[in-house]
Assembly symmetry: C2
Homo-oligomer: 334 residues x 2
């Protein structure tokens, strides 16, 4: 557990480093040690690294790195996951979409993070009346769970372009029917936000057909897992994308959306900008330090404008750098 | 109930037309009349039109057109939904993907269609221990349900390029863990097929990043609903895409993947080619008439080569035609 303290922009930072996921499995045998959760809860905000790797891939469920992440989300009660998918003009060519389709895409996916099929009970294995093995999970939402994530999404949309699209499968699932009913019921509290609804299969299509139609999307845990990854890949530069997970009380959790990329571990190739931009989200949503957040974001843009690129976003006419140098260039750009 | 009989290519066809979905609601008050299901079961194959429309959008669940479709799938036991997403060289410009990414994409999504969260019990509405409204559904798969869809997928992959990617969320869901275990267990029966596994969120990304990496995809009902729509939109021409739903015994169900497009109903604008190509799938998978299927597919390609396009796939230098004329041009191209 490292500890560090410094001042910057008039803010005093104190850092503690604690293990979760693979690192915690190696040092303590569990993916979320009690000390880690306690330290996280005592903090004002948490910056999280990526959590998996080949080494633990075959572990049983309760010993998977992912389980530690899910326990941390649940333990902190961070029910709202904010995942921006923004195409920066500097990186529009990284997208596999045609330039005219990708240019200007700026979507925020608000994903419910502590409910639904990820946590619903009953779940597990069993056998059916023919004696066959079965595996089962429960998709369940309570009115208050839907209301609180919808409120966050309405607030987010209000601060953006005022458009909120709620995604569900209300033509088939009861959990989605309740979702649609509750979200619709809240709309009158946000008269300045234009609410629409879309089925998840259609949303998966529309994100590709015309992503610019979307401003803010709100959806459940599993649909959000899928759609936020789809939306981020539209940008062609997921090594650039941060995320914020916040709750009602207590600290928020901030992390890059990319995984741990075990294939390039230790090679000084990873793009650090998603983590840097996660720190910006931490300042904005976790600590209310908007100015400091903007300074970091401006430094990242400046670094890109100066032509520096890691391998994942490299294209002709720019300067290829490693993870370490990219970090240094950002510092130089502040 | 219309009835029609004619001979073509040495095959005798007898047609019966029966209502389902919106049409059935209007004429009988239910979305799947008993007579319709009985007629479907007596047939050798079923060609289905699209089933929804604004008029019935606000109906209660048991009176939704979609419910009729789900009842028909379940009633016929068509557990395997085959959905090709093919980019035709003639239409590569219709895709919102860059030409070099879209060109040559040829994916078959094999979706489980009669199980999982669409049909799992318990489901419904209730209240939790705090007296709040809840909505819930059950994602459940039995070993035999997974095995039979996996076998279909292995067979399909074997006749294609020999690559099968099974998509699940086995890092979180027990239903997916059993899915992965069963699919893996069958691999040794198909040594000529190369099996891989992918998480659904990653699959949603990879379809955009590099769709050509996929040959055949097999996945559960809800993930298949989302991913097959995503895959089809990659082609930019979903008005072109057919689908087949087949079971172990009894007739298969063949339908375009697009919806009823109520916004252009009655305007002679719809693209009929997905329905025409569904008839080709009906001949191939429903009746084993490969030659006749190929003739229809060749006629469609020929029609495109002659430059005819409906509005949804129109681009400069081609001839814009309506639904009716497009059908006539296909007949002329046989
Ligand atoms: C690692 C996994 C459990 C996690 C999730 O499914 O939530 C990840 O995909 C994410 O989106 O953060
Ligand atoms: C209409 C709806 C019930 C249906 C589904 O979800 O299966 C449709 O989206 C499809 O993919 O055929």
């Amino acid at each position: 557990m490292a500890s560090l303290c410094f001042f910057s922009a008039g803010i005093e930072f104190r850092f503690r480093e604690v293990p979760v996921g693979g690192a915690a499995l190696d040092s303590t045998g569990v993916p979320l040690p009690d000390d880690t959760l306690a330290a996280a809860k005592e903090s004002d905000a948490i910056l999280l690294g990526a959590i998996g790797g080949y080494k633990w891939d075959a572990n049983e469920k309760h010993l998977k790195p992912e389980t530690g992440l899910l326990q941390l989300r649940a333990g902190l009660g961070v029910f709202a996951n904010l995942r921006p998918a923004t195409v920066l003009p500097q990186l529009v060519d990284s997208s596999t979409l045609k330039k005219e389709v990708a240019d200007g895409v700026d979507i925020m996916v608000v994903r419910e993070l502590t409910g639904g099929i990820y946590f619903g009970k009953p779940r597990g294995f069993g056998s059916n009346d023919r004696g066959e093995d079965i595996g089962f999970n429960t998709e369940v939402y309570a009115a208050s769970e839907i209301d609180r994530i919808a409120r966050v999404a309405f607030e987010v949309a209000r601060k953006r372009r005022g458009k909120l699209c709620s995604v569900d499968k209300a033509n088939v699932l009861e959990a989605s029917m309740l979702w649609r009913k509750r979200v619709t019921g809240l709309a009158s509290e946000f008269p300045d936000v234009e609410l629409s609804h879309m089925y998840v299969d259609n949303a998966a299509m529309q994100l590709i057909r015309n992503p610019k139609q979307f401003d803010t999307i709100v959806t459940n845990n599993i649909f959000g897992d899928i759609l936020s990854d789809e939306a981020s890949m539209l940008t062609g530069s997921i090594g650039m994308l941060p995320s914020a997970s916040i709750g009602d009380l207590g600290p928020g959790l901030f992390e890059p959306i990319h995984g741990s990329a075990p294939d390039i571990a230790g090679q000084d190739k990873a793009n650090p900008l998603a983590t840097v931009l996660s720190a910006a989200m931490l300042l904005r949503y976790g600590l209310g330090e908007e100015e400091a957040a903007k300074r970091i974001e401006a430094a990242v843009i400046n670094t890109l404008n100066r032509g520096f690129r890691t391998g994942d976003i490299f294209s002709g006419g720019t300067t290829l750098v490693g993870c370490k140098q990219m970090g240094e260039e950002v510092l130089r750009s502040v």
